[in-house]
């Protein structure tokens, strides 16, 4: 599997580290126990396109948001995660 880093170009999987699902959003401070439990522990086991965080630690050290199909491993989109760089990739 290869990932096209928006900063470096196409690179082998060995340069990247997988973090996990990019969907969960941290609940507000006053959220219920159920909402926090869901955020911390519960993950969807999607058959199809998922959004996930990958770290290009063996390259430019940028966090990336990758859209990957869990059935085919096809990667349809890669974008810098929020806050990467002092400005987002222009390309």
């Amino acid at each position: 599997m290869r990932i096209v880093c928006p900063f470096c170009g196409e690179r082998e999987l060995g340069e990247f580290t997988y973090l996990g699902d990019a969907k969960p959003v941290r609940p507000a401070a006053g959220a219920s126990e159920d909402e926090v439990f869901d955020y911390v522990y519960l993950r969807d086991n999607v058959a199809g396109d998922t959004s996930e965080y990958w770290y290009h630690g063996g390259g430019c050290r940028a966090w990336l948001k990758v859209t990957r199909n869990t059935l085919t491993h096809e990667i349809s989109a890669v974008e810098p995660a929020a806050g990467v760089g002092a400005r987002q990739a222009a390309r």
Binding site: C8, G14, G59
Partner: protein, 208 residues
């Protein structure tokens, strides 16, 4: 308190043995030169300050700092891309040390002195690409990796900054490699193992 002074020495002090290594007979296929005593500063834009950093760099160096994986030659420094909105300033002679650059980039960037934190290895020779192909997944064909191209990548599970410098006077390509000081000896041995079959000419220099 005891009086003493720090003596800086290369992390490859013991590993690097100048002279011939590997296959003998005929010209060495790979030349390895460790460059010592350089100044290397990492410059990273602060949040929202990328444009200010670009302007400050242009003013100081007379050339635009790289905003893509490239190495840009200024009059007395090389600016090497190392990630989004960040680059290295490689120089020698003390003109671009952290004190001076700190003033230039006081409003736009955070700096980190890497002069003694990295080892710089210059690789050339007729078999340089063939040898590097054993260690790197980057396409180093002249069409894909021309002079001035750079890459932040991994070799032998070690993060490196690789860029193509100006060709040697005999026309052969030169690949420069920056590696973390504590990983340098390990990578050096991997390079020697990969290059041994082509014959290696080893030396060190203070010329960038």
């Amino acid at each position: 308190m005891a009086e003493f002074s720090w003596v800086s020495r290369s992390p490859l002090e013991h590993a690097l043995v100048a002279g011939a290594h590997g296959a003998r007979g005929g010209e060495a296929g790979v030349s390895l030169t460790e460059i010592r005593n350089f100044d290397l500063i990492q410059v990273m834009a602060r949040r929202g300050k990328a444009v200010d950093l670009a302007n400050a760099a242009k003013e100081r160096f007379g050339v635009a700092a790289p905003d893509a994986p490239k190495a840009v030659q200024a009059q007395d420094a090389t600016l090497i891309w190392s990630g989004p909105d960040q680059f290295f300033v490689l120089s020698r002679g003390g003109k671009h040390r952290i004190g001076a650059l700190g003033q230039t980039f006081a409003q736009s960037a955070s700096l980190s002195d890497q002069s003694h934190a990295r080892v710089l290895i210059s690789i050339s020779g007729a078999k340089a690409r063939t040898m590097l192909a054993k260690l790197s997944s980057i396409d180093l064909h002249p069409a894909a990796f021309p002079v001035g191209m750079a890459a932040a990548t991994s070799m032998d599970h070690t993060s490196v900054t690789l860029w193509r410098g100006n060709d040697r006077t005999d026309g052969q390509a030169v690949f420069n490699l920056l590696v973390f000081a504590t990983f340098a000896e390990s990578l050096w041995h991997s390079i020697l193992d990969s290059a041994a079959e082509y014959g290696v000419d080893i030396k060190h220099s203070e010329e960038l």
